[in-house]
């Protein structure tokens, strides 16, 4: 007889707010964010750990939230695209993406922004090659990446000056 699956208590801090939920062990982090917490800024793209659209930061490090169980994230701090804007001001990366037309359809953008944020957190002055490698896990089917590279370089300059 199949046993009853016990739900698991999970506490996460998302963009500075603490959330507690009882979840099924199989719930994915991206589903916790989107379905349970209503934070739909994080997108599900390929759902197979390939495209990076679902990238969020887990304790400051980029992860593909479609390939992390919510229970694995228990006790962690998570940053999503919703946390980038502060007091009505776009994050310098968001502003640079807008200025440089670093998006067209925008589907990959939340994951791309979070991957770029973690890249700049680690390396405030990346060259083009480092940016390319830094976003190698994020697929964009519209832009051809050139404007994304330009936006990240520009944002890096502004962040260093700030």
């Amino acid at each position: 007889m199949p046993e009853t699956i016990q739900p698991v208590f999970v506490e996460v801090v998302v963009n500075g707010y603490t959330y507690q939920r009882e979840v099924e062990p199989r719930l994915l982090l991206v589903e916790l964010l989107r379905e349970e917490l209503g934070l739909t800024g994080t997108h599900v793209g390929c759902d197979t750990s390939y495209c990076g659209a679902c990238t969020v930061l887990l304790d400051g490090r980029p992860v593909k939230s479609c390939t992390v169980l919510a229970v694995q994230a228990d006790g962690s701090a998570i940053e999503t695209v919703e946390g980038l804007e502060r007091d009505g001001e776009l994050h310098p990366l968001q502003a640079a993406f807008s200025e440089h037309h670093a998006l067209q359809c925008g589907y990959c953008t939340p994951g791309m922004l979070m991957a770029c944020k973690s890249l700049l957190d680690e390396n405030p002055a990346p060259g083009r090659e480092a940016i390319r490698k830094g976003i190698a896990g994020n697929v964009c089917r519209c832009t051809g990446y050139q404007n994304i590279l330009a936006a990240v370089e520009d944002a890096a300059t502004k962040l260093r000056g700030a």
Partner: protein, 297 residues
């Protein structure tokens, strides 16, 4: 996509993890970083009714050098290894750890998980076999140390008992005059390697004393060839010897034709990777600091 429902355990200690594995002999699956396992669970490749999540066994995350061996805790993430001084000191480990998939996967994925999954195309099995690494395996019965070449017996199959866990990877550090390199050919960064080659060369007085050549994606497990390694020994490892060794080791391989490429494409790519990894290993054996990424095709 949701994985099928599973019972979940998150042991707080190694003893608790081992007890759980013993109590559910053969019916429990170990979750480390999950970067291979979770996609398999979502795609419902295999059945996973009970998961033992060892992600909180923080005591299994370390990189320690003792003498001429580096001890890497099984739960050490690829990103931690790539960022450690070790990745520069033994560049082969940097090639592997820094080149697995993308930054997101390297945040979560672990060296122990990468070995235990025993995917014939994956980076750690090929890279660690090239390095002559050993896996420390712990069960309620005690601890045993197994060479990576013996650990992995078939595709997705290790010789681990159902209550046994890889707890550490031991890598012998190369002495002066020894260099090694690992290069994969991938369709894109997040993809598994289509094929890969690791080469280790030990020089003495400019002559090859010992060589190791390991192929990934070339059969149901990694592939080696004593004849190929013999072709390098006693030589200065020129282009001729490297080409000969590549020919011999690829002759011993049986790369499957699949969506990643035809068999003939894979054989040609493997030959070329062996030569390139051999040249890079040679340069490193001579003390040059060379780096270079994977190939994309």
């Amino acid at each position: 996509m949701y994985p099928a429902p599973f019972a979940y355990h998150r042991p707080a200690s190694l003893d608790e993890a081992l007890s759980l594995l013993a109590a559910h002999a053969g019916a429990a699956t170990v979750l480390a970083g999950g970067q291979s396992l979770i996609p398999m669970m979502k795609l419902r490749v295999g059945e996973f009714h009970r998961i033992v999540d060892i992600g909180r066994l923080h005591g299994l995350s370390y990189i320690e050098r003792r003498g001429d061996t580096v001890h890497i805790g099984a739960l050490t993430r690829h990103a931690q290894i790539a960022a450690s001084p070790l990745a520069r000191e033994f560049a082969l480990l940097g090639d592997v750890a820094g080149g697995i998939a993308d930054r997101q996967v390297r945040t979560m994925g672990t060296i122990g998980g990468g070995l235990a999954m025993a995917d014939a195309n994956a980076c750690w099995p090929c890279g660690l076999r090239t390095a002559g690494a050993r896996a420390v395996c712990t069960s309620p019965r005690g601890v045993r140390t197994i060479g990576v070449d013996e650990l992995i017996v078939d595709s997705y199959t290790t010789c681990l008992a159902s209550d046994e866990l890889i707890t550490e990877v031991q890598v012998p550090l190369p002495g002066a005059g020894t260099g090694a390199a690992y290069i994969a050919c991938k369709r894109s960064a997040p993809a598994y390697p289509t094929v890969a080659a690791g080469v280790l060369i030990a020089l003495e007085g400019g002559v090859c004393l010992r060589a190791r050549i390991v192929l990934g994606g070339a059969g149901s497990t990694t592939v080696v060839s004593a004849e190929a390694e013999a072709a390098l020994r006693g030589s200065a490892v020129g282009p001729e010897q490297l080409a000969k060794a590549a020919e011999l080791v690829v002759g011993a391989a049986s790369p499957p034709a699949d969506a990643r490429g035809s068999e003939s494409f894979k054989r040609a790519m493997l030959r070329s990777l062996v030569v390139e990894a051999g040249q890079r290993a040679l340069a490193r054996a001579r003390g040059e600091q060379t780096t270079g990424g994977h190939r994309y095709a």
